[in-house]
Symmetry: C2
Subunit: 205 residues, 2 copies
DNA sequence: GTCCGATATATCAAGCCGATATGTTGGGCC
DNA sequence: GGCCCAACATATCGGCTTGATATATCGGAC
């Protein structure tokens, strides 16, 4: 779900659409190629719903600053002379609202956990408390176990003698087991570090 | 692409929509959950284009026959008194046409190879000649290598200190490497068994 | 005899993707 | 200076997928 991605990224810093896509690509990598054709409508939707607001818009909100610099900059806090809508270098910088933060929490808690959605949620785990994280991890593991069992059933079904289909299913089984083991490690890390990672609550926000 | 899936399944046996979905689920497992909302329109589309035809329709085209039997039957060549549209047990059995077979070959050769599309193509590899198979495998490997490199670049980029994002990327890297190795084995099997080909059924490995 | 779940097809509102349009800006180049 | 190209930035459109919903038949349980 693209709204989750947008809110998750915007929670960290105010950005305009183009930058948002780049950040998304950086954070989620190949797991989520959000296209402009869905990004801009989604931003408009979220704005209509009050989950995000246009923080600034106008011609030179910020000097180009070729993204090597710290993009965290909530620096430029004041802006003079904003163009109404259409102007040269007309870009809209969006920021998340309290309603948007609530929506983000809600979306994170949602049970959906296909490959892409789960990846997104994981990328934004730092904004969940530990119980929520564990709930999501457990649910993901359950989904993967279901998948594993379904594939296994299909493999053992007779008439599956095509070597390619068999290879596909065996690989799927293997990959799914890897994923399950990985989730297991994440769960262990989450439950087992009572004293190892005092940072999670206090330090690093 | 759903058309690929439909044609690939119909090439083996004539089926109606509902059965088709079940076969698809069996062959591709969790890799492709085709919904009715896309299946029926796709069938209509393919019929308009002449890639498939209604082989038979009517009340009891075939007795339940729990799909273990050979469904290849182009038997029932004549049908009397077909209900116009809405009838009891009105089902439409589709068959692939020569044009449809050509379209299938074309779709198989298409360069697109995301996870799902590649899975489908692999499931239908038996209908390709070896050069085509190798071409598809090599292309898939190239795609995965690209993905690997992109993820690696993202990981090594500074400011990626979030442990969850890091875990996500590391796991993605690992999975992708597994996939690459797997494709490598498929390629080896494809090129290396000039004389061993007979055994694919018997002594696999 | 009647209800239930599986069989079977179809449609609809939302929303996503890829392509495309339109315009701006900075930098390389001679 | 003057030119063009690549990157920046937003937006829209058609085609398609998804998930929900509607309709109707059939076999079997009780």
């Amino acid at each position: 779900m693209i709204e989750l991605a947008i809110l998750g990224i915007l929670k960290e810093s105010n950005l305009h659409g183009y930058e948002l896509k780049k950040h998304l690509r950086k954070v989620l990598g190949p797991l989520s190629n959000v296209s402009f054709g869905s990004l801009y409508p989604a931003l408009a939707r979220l704005e209509r719903e009050g989950a995000v607001t246009i923080v600034e818009s106008g011609q030179d909100a910020a000097p180009p600053m070729p993204m090597t610099g710290s993009l965290t900059g909530e620096a430029a806090a004041f802006r003079s002379r904003r163009r109404p809508t259409r102007g040269p270098r007309n870009r809209k910088v969006y920021g998340i609202t309290p309603a948007g933060e609530a929506r983000l929490v809600e979306l994170m808690a949602d049970p959906a956990d296909d490959e892409r959605t789960f990846g997104m949620k994981l990328a934004f785990f730092r904004w969940c408390d530990r119980p929520t994280r564990l709930r999501l991890l457990e649910r993901r593991r359950a989904s993967l176990l279901d998948r594993l069992e379904e594939t296994r059933r299909a493999v053992s079904a007779r008439d599956q003698d095509d070597p390619y289909v068999r290879a596909l299913m065996e690989h799927d089984t293997e990959s799914t087991m890897n994923d399950i083991a990985w989730i297991g490690r994440l769960i262990a890390r989450e439950t087992g570090d009572e004293g190892l990672d005092k940072e999670t609550t206090g330090g690093h926000r």
